[in-house]
């Protein structure tokens, strides 16, 4: 029983980080209709960049993390401005394919700049583990969950009340009508990419605090995909709820099935969930069903 609580807590907290990364995907999807396949690679590069800043350059924590966020925002801006914007008005498939190309490019760049396979960030959070009931949880998990929750809150306020946030949602609905209102959609696209990259960076830092920096961080992107598909491609709420579900499934399934089946079964579980969801509820749990008036 002790392990159950352990699995549940780690599952939910890790799931919230997945949800955070997934929000970046939803953001870009909603505003521009582009599926960002480079999600995991964005997580990867910003984690390694954090390593570069904090360990290799030895910057103080606040400055290093600030630079990471700035780097992510700049990366998002550059990606939108120079890779996606020239393709506006092209078939959507080429926009999606270009993100795939971007993914390979980033992966290559990362292994070129940081040829090491494993690294660790300095400890950002206090060391001693916390006892919750029978479970012993290291503080990283709890901080990750708290930070994700705060960001969810801020983002939902942003989308509900800030005019840029509202305009982003409007763009998701009808791009042409937004232009007719005189709103620069290109600015909205670049805003959504910048936010997506920043979220990926924060998610990356949190993940690498938990599990260290490895090439495996790319898979975080894949798990964020399963979150997005379970929650619904265009639903923020869906991502927030589906994140912990995927995290739970992964940890519970991994914890209890590994002894019975084969090691690494936990990595498969999110994808099994995707397949089941696609069969039963293709829009996802909270996906926007197209509103049609008859």
């Amino acid at each position: 029983m002790a392990e159950l609580l352990q699995f549940v807590i780690t599952g939910i907290t890790v799931g919230m980080v997945y949800a955070l990364i997934a929000l970046g995907f939803v953001l870009v999807w909603k505003s521009s209709g582009v599926a960002n396949l480079a999600l995991g690679q964005l997580v990867l590069i910003s984690s390694w960049f954090t390593y570069g800043m904090l360990v290799q350059a030895g910057l103080p924590l606040w400055l290093g993390l600030l630079l990471v966020i700035l780097f992510a925002l700049a990366l998002g801006w550059v990606i939108e401005r120079f890779i996606l914007r020239p393709l506006i008005a092209q078939p959507i498939l080429s926009l999606i394919t270009v993100t795939l190309g971007l993914a390979f490019f980033i992966e290559g760049a990362v292994s070129f700049i940081w040829p090491k396979s494993v690294a660790a960030l300095p400890r950002l959070f206090p060391q001693q583990p916390v006892h919750i009931g029978t479970a012993v949880v290291s503080q990283e998990y709890l901080w990750a969950a708290a930070i994700s929750l705060i960001l969810f809150g801020l983002l939902s306020l942003y989308f509900r009340y800030h005019k840029m946030g509202i305009a982003m949602r409007a763009t998701a609905d009808d791009q042409r009508a937004v232009q007719a209102c005189g709103i620069p959609v290109t600015k909205i696209f670049s805003m959504s990419w910048m936010l997506a990259c920043a979220l990926a960076a924060i998610g990356g830092v949190l993940m690498s605090c938990i599990g260290g920096i490895t090439f495996g961080l790319v898979h975080t992107g894949l798990k964020a995909f399963s979150v997005v598909i379970l929650g619904g491609l265009n639903s923020f709420l869906g991502a927030i709820i589906a994140g912990p579900i995927i995290g739970l499934a992964e940890n519970l399934g991994g914890g209890y099935l590994t002894p019975l089946t084969w090691p690494g079964v936990r990595e498969v579980i999110p994808f099994i969930i995707i397949i089941i969801v696609m069969f039963l509820k293709p829009y996802g749990l909270f996906g926007e069903v197209r509103i049609e008036r008859i």
């Binding site: 509202i166 609905d173 009808d174 005189g182």
Partner: protein, 263 residues
Amino acid sequence: MLKLNNIEVAYLNVIRVLHGVSLNVEDGSIVALLGANGAGKSTTLKAISGLLHVEEGEVTDGSIEWNGERMDNKSAEEIGKLGIIQALEGRRVFGHLTTEENLLVGAYHRKDRHTVKEDLKMVYDYFPRLKELRHNTAGYLSGGEQQMLVIGRAMMAAPKLMMLDEPSLGLAPLLVEEIYNIIQRFNTEHKTSVLLVEQNVRIALSIAHYGYVVENGRVVLDGSADFLKNNEDVKEFYMGLSTVGTKKSYREVKHYKRRKRWL
């Protein structure tokens, strides 16, 4: 004042849609652009609002001037900032946003929150129905309510020139009349120029000061609303009246008695 000088528009560099359209919209006036399907009315509006660029269309000849300044190569955002706002054809509301959020999107460019709030009140004053529905999802509003929302959204931008593309499309006659009254009231109370694209000639001419008839990408006839209303050709071909002003009978084999004088 908006001035179109003999503009030509081609899509994809091949398909020429407008073959020289000239028109003026005086400040504070309502101008109607009339014509059948495919005449080039909507294209004219898109040429003005800069939306052609995203549809692979281009103004290949002529010029568009706003208060004496050329604007035919400006982007849609810049034109929007000038105060020229287009409400697209077919009630394009933001379906997943609430009514109020839709209206706020219209006011995106405006910095002063206080006046935006006042204008929100003003729009609710013009369309009391929208106030009741302000927290409802716009996608589920009725057709007439959506049309009101689209016009209200254009009003929220505090436009100097409001371009409306077929506000009567698919609405019940009573509702059309209501919406047109509101457009007229807005025009007289705020001195906003209105460029109106319409197939419903009768209702458009009832509020317009001046009108242009467009056919096959050309302006074939223009004049004051009274002139157009009494023009025999307009009566015959756009209002379904015969020369004597009585209702036309389609029972007779040859129900048309005239040839268009402008051909």
